[in-house]
């Protein structure tokens, strides 16, 4: 553990925190292009955050401190998630604090606090959103865990850094277990990031909302933090996907050159991934809420099949 690795860690976290809204902006832009709309500016999410931070926070009467603390907790959890997922380099001093299972726990922590905060005011839509979010969570969480387990069984490690190093150094081949896991991971990421087949981030109709219903009561800086945390979550999920399924280009040595090379590679991969996300969102229609458990159960089963394939074929 050297000074360089600490610098790399700081750079990775700073890049994630500052760059995550850019990824959201890019996805929104791509989607608008694909849907033949005039695209919003790339930097719009930053302007929105700035605007929201300036605005006064309107808090409902009777809100408990839990309501006001939750955005900070969710934001903190997502910053840590971005810190432990190898995005630029695998030599991260923070990584031993949490492995793949703890990462899933971190997402669960954020989800539970978000749901509790949504129930705090006691409006019908808040509890509805919380219930739906937990419904998605209880299937998405084990599915994500099983995706990570597939990688963990392959590499005999749950440390994300070791997983990335082992997979990146493996002989290049199509691994059937990873293919299953990849499909499952895509489905889970769509659900967890409130994307189209499961939830619509641009909806204005309360009855169809999931994530938006939970944050109906938030405004001002609290809302800004939640939006920012959502961007960070998308960033973290993208980096998990890239790290497990496309680990090439992540620096494994802690020299400056490797980091400098890794940054543009990461930006390129994220740009492609964001465009792919926009394509998926454009091509699919939003599901009814009662279809979502089937969708996620499918993801869960695919991930389990991925593990079994690994055991049966040894690949």
């Amino acid at each position: 553990m050297t000074i360089e690795s600490f610098v790399a860690q700081l750079v990775a976290v700073a890049l994630a925190v500052l760059g995550a809204p850019l990824l959201t902006g890019w996805v929104n832009q791509c989607r608008a292009w694909l849907q033949n709309k005039s695209a919003p500016p790339l930097l719009l999410p930053y302007r929105t955050l700035h605007k929201l931070f300036w605005k006064e926070s309107v808090v409902a009467e009777g809100a408990s401190p839990l309501f006001r603390g939750a955005p900070y907790i969710v934001f903190g959890a997502m910053v840590l998630a971005c810190g432990i997922v190898p995005s630029l380099s695998t030599d991260l001093p923070l990584a031993p604090a949490a492995d793949a299972i703890a990462l899933v726990g971190l997402f669960a922590l954020a989800r539970v606090f978000m749901s509790l905060a949504a129930m705090d005011i006691g409006t019908a839509f808040g509890t509805l959103g919380a219930r739906r979010e937990m419904l998605i969570g209880f299937l998405a969480e084990p599915a994500l865990l099983m995706v990570l387990f597939t990688a963990a069984f392959m590499t005999q490690s749950t440390s994300l850094a070791s997983i990335v190093e082992t997979i990146a150094n493996q002989e290049f081949a199509i691994y059937p277990s990873l293919a299953f896991a990849g499909v499952a991971f895509t489905m889970v990421s769509l659900a967890e990031n409130a994307r189209v087949p499961v939830d619509n981030p641009a909806t204005h109709l309360e009855l169809t909302m999931i994530h938006e219903a939970m944050i109906l009561e938030y405004s001002g800086r609290h809302l800004a933090l939640i939006e920012w945390a959502a961007s960070l979550k998308l960033f973290a999920y993208s980096c998990i996907g890239l790290a497990i399924f496309f680990p090439w280009g992540i620096a494994q040595v802690h020299d400056l050159l490797g980091l400098l090379l890794a940054a543009p590679v990461l930006v390129g991969k994220l740009a492609l991934g964001g465009a792919a996300l926009a394509v998926i969102e454009t091509l699919s229609a939003k599901m009814r809420i009662f279809r979502v458990p089937e969708f996620l159960a499918g993801a869960f089963l695919l991930a389990v099949i991925g593990i079994l394939v690994h055991f049966l074929l040894g690949a």
């Binding site: 934001f75 949490a98 299972i101 703890a102 726990g105 409006t123 209880f138 969480e141 389990v304």
Partner: protein, 672 residues
């Protein structure tokens, strides 16, 4: 009597147990003296609990200590033995019951139901029975104390016996407890292998054939399973645990279930010398089914104590899964992996004792403040009961298995022990293990759902009944008990390396290996049971990083922008008639689970029609097993009893005839 300085840990423990019995006896003498019982005797009991836990901690790292009490049958005195396994479970008992007793000091109210002195006696006999079960070193004292524990808890469950539902729950509890006790007795009979010597030492010396070892194991699994509430013997648990007064519910769920886990570990790993791999597969299957059943039913409950009782079934299921994994590894001679799985089991047992006791006590405080157990009539209590609410939040997060609290550490360890299972000799088992791991992950995630429902519906939102606004917070003694248990949840989560150092000697007793040395190698900050590059977790660092991000965001937002806030009415979506009844009820929150897991339930709906003057909606989701298994058994039993009843004519001449005929038959058999 020797001077206290020469006392061994086991002597201190016996002193603590004697103190409990004495406290109970004084309670009977001061039957209606509320002040003496609540404010003096219960705190003294908590002190004895702490003594017990401290003595356990002192004995955890030493070799076994034995004692013989001149009680019991002539020629068969009570053999007691304190080894690392007993010490660990006694620490669990002492530490959890200290909090529960402190809470109980403020809980029991004047002039309600059973006299306080009687409750005090039963409560402390219950504690003494559990402690003696864990110290027992022969089958006789084990069974006597097991019965003491069962009977004391039966009378505590039926403390409020004027309510018919509680009498029914108590009867069911007694019935299943005795079925289990018979199986345990038979198990001891098999274990002593016709030597007539019922000490555990003798049982350890016997080498049973695989058949008889399997019989003993299955009997133990049945017997202890009945006490632990594993499927299909769980039926009493959701009835009996909620029926008892809340401190007793806390002890039953938090500690008494662990005596069954203790017994299973004692018999399955230490007394039995033969281990077959298929026992592990059986336990894995039963444990997973139990856990899934428990959590799915917990999600649809509308009574807060029943919800917690079902959640206990879930946790027992997870413990049995861990035991199954350890048995599997032991059967294949992989001691290091078995030690990892057992570490997870023991850690989770300790965690569950803390968070489940905490949550049950929390429901007790809510029950006292509101008189309401139905989730559909609670809500918003965090505002009126901040102490209970915030401390219960710690228990909720721990029970949901969220980092950095304690529930996560044991789930993490359990999942880790699943992950390093490559290279089991059988392909079938090799493929089974990841499937069970997937099931455990699902159960853990559903546990989060249940806990969000529990906390959200009781403590968050708006009060669903206007009178909830008069709810008062917990008093001093209750707060102390809750605080002790909540602190335990946090500390057990933040210091896993220290807890594992305590567990290490236990797994060495059970499977001859431990993870303590490897964990200690990597420092106190990181938990790395195998090697840091394979898996590591540092709850303290985790907490610090989240807290640092929290603080940094908070300071930066205030510094760069502002901290202004305005209070306003909640947004009503343009519909001004919103009220508290429009929040999700407990039924509403459980509805998705009911829909997804519909085959699990036997659902009876009563839907209103559009023409009803007073529309009624009723829905009950009950247990299939009750209808498929228990009611048929009850019907058969009744039919058999009716046939047997024909013999009983009630005339003395007939009975004399029976005796005469029996005598004749015997004589013919003998002189044939």
């Amino acid at each position: 009597m020797t001077a206290p300085t020469d006392w061994l840990a086991i002597d201190w423990m016996l002193a603590a147990i004697a103190a409990w019995i004495a406290i109970g006896a004084i309670g009977v003498l001061r039957l209606h003296d509320f002040f003496a019982v609540a404010r003096i005797l219960f705190p003294l009991g908590a002190l004895a609990s702490l003594t017990l836990a401290a003595a356990g901690a002192a004995a955890a790292f030493d070799g076994p200590q034995t004692a013989v009490l001149p009680l019991g049958l002539p020629g068969l005195p009570f053999h007691l033995r304190l080894d690392a396994l007993s010490a660990f479970f006694l620490i669990l008992l002492g530490a959890a019951s200290a909090g529960v007793s402190a809470f109980a000091a403020g809980y029991f109210r004047k002039g309600e139901g059973t006299p306080p002195g009687l409750l005090c006696l039963l409560y402390h006999l219950f504690l003494a029975g559990m402690a003696m079960v864990m110290l027992a070193d022969d089958a006789y004292v084990f069974m006597v104390m097991w019965e003491l524990m069962a009977l004391a808890s039966f009378f505590l469950v039926t403390a409020n016996h004027v309510i018919p539902a509680i009498r029914r729950a108590g009867y069911l509890y007694l019935l299943v407890a005795h079925l289990g006790a018979i199986a345990i007795l038979l198990c001891f009979g098999v274990l002593q292998a016709n030597t007539g010597d019922y000490t555990f030492d003798n049982m350890r010396a016997q080498s049973l054939s695989p058949f008889w070892a399997s019989v003993a194991f299955l009997l133990a699994l049945f017997g202890f399973g009945a006490k632990a509430g594993i499927l299909p013997l769980h039926i009493w648990l959701p009835e009996a645990h909620p029926a008892a007064p809340s401190p007793v519910s806390a002890l039953m769920s938090g500690v008494m279930l662990k005596t069954a886990i203790y017994g299973l570990l004692r018999i399955g790993f230490e007394v039995l010398q033969t281990h077959l791999w298929w026992w592990g597969v059986l336990a894995l299957a039963i444990g997973l089914v139990t856990a899934l059943f428990g959590v799915v039913f917990a999600a649809v409950q509308t009574d807060m104590k029943r919800l917690l009782a079902y959640s206990s079934i879930e946790n027992i299921g997870l413990l049995v899964v861990g035991i199954g994994l350890a048995l599997l590894f032991t059967g294949y001679g992989m001691a290091a992996l078995a030690a990892l799985a057992l570490t997870a089991v023991l850690y989770h047992a300790l965690n569950h004792a803390f968070f489940k006791s905490l949550l049950f006590l929390g429901t007790g405080a809510v029950l006292h403040a509101t008189g309401e157990r139905n989730l559909g009539k609670l809500g918003g209590l965090l505002r009126y009961m901040p102490w209970v609410g915030w401390l219960a939040l710690a228990g909720t997060l721990a029970a949901a298995g969220l980092p950095p609290l304690n529930g996560f550490v044991s789930e993490w360890l359990l999942l880790q022990s699943f992950l390093f299972t490559l290279g089991l000799p059988s392909t079938f088992v090799n493929n089974l293990v990841p499937v069970v791991a997937a099931g455990v992950a699902l159960v853990a995630a559903l546990g989060g759902y249940v806990m969000v429902k529990f906390f959200g519906v009781i403590f968050l939102g708006q009060p669903r009944e206007p009178r909830l606004a008069q709810a008062h917070d917990a008093a001093r003694w209750e707060r102390a008990g809750l605080l002790w248990l909540a602190a335990g949840c946090v500390l057990l989560g933040l210091a896993p390396a220290q807890v594992i150092a305590l567990i290490d000697p236990v797994t060495r007793v059970l499977v001859g290996d431990g993870v303590g040395a490897r964990v200690a190698e990597h420092g106190w900050l990181f938990l790395a049971p195998v090697a840091p590059e394979r898996a590591s977790y540092s709850p303290l660092l985790f907490l610090l990083l989240v807290a640092a991000s929290f603080a940094l965001a908070f300071v930066l937002v205030r510094w760069l922008y502002h901290g202004r806030i305005r209070r306003a009415a909640p947004w009503d979506c343009g519909y001004p008639l919103l009220n508290a009844r429009m929040q999700d009820t407990a039924e509403g929150f459980g509805q998705p689970i009911r829909q997804v897991f519909e085959p699990f339930f036997r659902i009876e709906r009563e839907l209103p029609s559009p023409f009803d003057k007073q529309p009624v909606y009723r829905l009950s989701a009950t247990d299939h097993l009750w209808h498929w298994l228990y009611l048929p058994i009850a019907r058969v039993t009744e039919a058999v009893s009716r046939v047997v009843g024909l013999l009983q004519q009630g005339r003395i001449a007939t009975y004399l005839l029976y005796s005469f005929v029996t005598l004749l038959v015997m004589l013919i058999l003998v002189f044939r």
